[in-house]
């Protein structure tokens, strides 16, 4: 449980050192609490690698980051702008307007105690019980600090385990669809840029074929450059090589490494420990919905402290 008050959060989030700020992110599916409070800041140019056992919530972190999954609570900030719902738990100012807070202080609680009581005993169950001002405060906060989700997603590229190229479109159509639809580029510009990217990955000859005719490695490299067509500020990779035949893993990792070298900010979920060590500026070990240990690759792989991380590494590194 973090205790930032709203001003602090605002300052930190908007000084844009942190390109992405994940604030006490929790996610449940029904009764399963998959993420139990993830807080981290990803700075521009960082390459954060997320490792951890299967089912620990790695994909869920990425999917909440671009809101493919709606966080149960917590906040996601992109470049100083909130992209999901306001979470009053992260803003004491908003909590102080709630009728629960007023009731508690009237009962003689100090402000800190009242806030702690609200936060720890989860008194807030539904918004309207907290009074109109509370709802208004939340709305105002959102209005002042939020950006539209589609806008945010356009600035975050996502690469999936199963590529997800659009099956009904050719390679070039896959690449130009979003930039043209979202009026980021004219059709001619989009085509020119897409061709440059295809040329760069040596697949210009596949320009007009449908995805079903491509190999896994080709599909994934095209999926990556399709994201690049939107000129994203950050790229999210969810196990980009897990669905590939071993001989194709290299070509995809090489492309990701190249982007990394060019300074792209990245969050990468991977089971390729060698790659994690090489590309990561920071590695986070996620276990049972929490960041159990985090640090440089040297620290995490060379001198793991967490018992479960040691156990995990002993299994994946043979």
């Amino acid at each position: 449980m973090t205790n930032d008050n709203s001003n602090e959060v605002l300052q930190e989030a908007s000084n844009s050192e942190g390109m992405i700020k994940i604030q006490n992110l929790k996610k449940s599916f029904g009764k399963a609490n998959v993420l139990k409070g993830i807080t981290t800041t990803i700075k521009k140019g960082e390459k954060v690698v997320i490792i951890g056992p299967s089912g620990s919530g790695k994909s869920t972190i990425l999917r909440c980051t671009n809101l493919l999954e709606e966080p149960t609570s917590g906040e996601i900030w992109l470049d100083g702008k909130l992209i999901n719902e306001v979470d009053p738990y992260n803003h004491d100012d908003i909590l102080k307007i709630s009728s629960t807070f007023k009731k508690l202080t009237a009962e003689g609680y100090s402000e800190e105690l009242a806030l702690a009581e609200i936060k720890n005993n989860i008194l807030i169950k539904s918004d309207f019980k907290e009074g109109r001002e509370f709802v208004k405060a939340k709305k105002e906060f959102k209005k002042a600090n939020s950006i539209n989700i589609n806008e945010a997603r356009a600035r975050m590229g996502m690469v999936f385990q199963h590529f997800n190229l659009f099956n009904n479109l050719t390679v070039i159509q896959n690449m130009i669809l979003a930039p043209v639809q979202l009026k980021r580029k004219t059709k001619e510009e989009a085509i020119a840029d897409a061709e440059k990217l295809l040329d760069r990955i040596g697949l210009l000859d596949k320009r007009d074929v449908y995805p079903s005719t491509l190999s896994g490695g080709q599909k994934q490299r095209i999926a990556i450059v399709r994201s690049l067509c939107m000129n994203p500020e950050i790229m999210l990779f969810d196990e980009p090589t897990s669905a590939l035949d071993p001989e194709m893993v290299g070509e995809v990792l090489d492309l990701i490494q190249e982007l990394a070298n060019e300074g792209m900010t990245m969050i990468i979920v991977t089971h390729e420990m060698g790659f994690a060590k090489k590309i990561g500026t920071r590695v986070m070990f996620v276990d049972q919905g929490l960041v159990a240990e985090s640090g440089t690759p040297e620290e995490l792989f060379g001198n793991p402290k967490n018992a479960r991380l040691k156990d995990f590494l002993s299994k994946v590194l043979y």
Binding site: G157, H162, N168, L177, D208, Y210
Partner: protein, 231 residues
């Protein structure tokens, strides 16, 4: 005279063929127009059912779509035809051609089936397609229109073909509301000559030929669409 000669005489000399051709035209027009109406209304219903969201207006529409589908799939076509002809239009005080009433009845009926077919088609598209679209910043509607629905349509073409085929066959109940379709035409010939064997066998052949042609066309369409992925 044998049965065949009787039929031929009636068909050609007594101009039975004009009646049959007219009936055939009515059958085909009502089936095609019915399917067209069904495709439009059915697709709208399918989309209404699929849109996620908690908007109260949307929830009401979704409830309506559920009831609509249950109603039209849960009662026989003949009953729907009778209700449209004898209850719906009279109670609205509207007098129109029985052919138009028939088209509307078949269109409304077909919409319920098309809705379920389209919904199944959309749901069968891998969630990853939508997620990729949304993660690029495309809106829900753009993702549906540009990515999901085109793939869904391709997948449902054979099933839509089957829907058309059953629609053609079902139109044989149109005579219940005094529309002269191809069934009624042959029936009229049979009744006036008291010779039933050839007219009814011919009627069966006519339906069979329509169905075979439709099947053939659907198969070509399917093959052409499938080829388009594999260039």
């Amino acid at each position: 005279m044998n049965a065949w000669d009787i039929f031929i005489r009636q068909f050609i000399e007594k101009e039975g063929y004009t009646l049959v051709l007219q009936g055939l035209g009515t059958t085909l027009i009502i089936a095609v127009a019915g399917l067209a109406i069904g495709l439009i209304i059915g697709s709208i219903l399918a989309i209404v059912k699929i849109i996620p969201g908690k908007n109260p207006f949307l929830l009401v529409l979704q409830r309506f779509a559920d009831v609509y589908v249950a109603l039209f799939r849960g009662t026989p076509m003949v009953v729907q035809l009778l209700v449209v002809h004898f209850v719906l239009f009279p109670s609205l005080g509207i007098h129109i051609l029985s052919e138009i009433e028939g088209t509307i009845a078949f269109g409304l009926n077909s919409a319920a089936y098309v809705c379920e077919i389209m919904r199944g088609g959309i749901l069968s598209i891998d969630k990853g397609q939508t997620e990729a679209g949304r993660s690029l910043g495309l809106s829900y509607s753009t993702t549906m229109i540009k990515i999901v629905i085109p793939q869904a349509i391709k997948n449902v073409i054979p099933t839509m073909g089957n829907e058309f085929i059953s629609l053609v066959k079902e139109t044989s109940v149109l005579s219940f509301i005094a529309v002269v379709d191809v069934t009624k035409a042959f029936q009229t010939m049979a009744n006036s000559s008291y010779e039933y064997v050839v007219p009814y066998l011919m009627l069966a052949v006519v339906y069979l030929v329509i169905v075979l042609i439709a099947t053939f066309v659907i198969r070509i369409l399917e093959r052409r669409l499938r080829a388009s992925d594999k260039r």
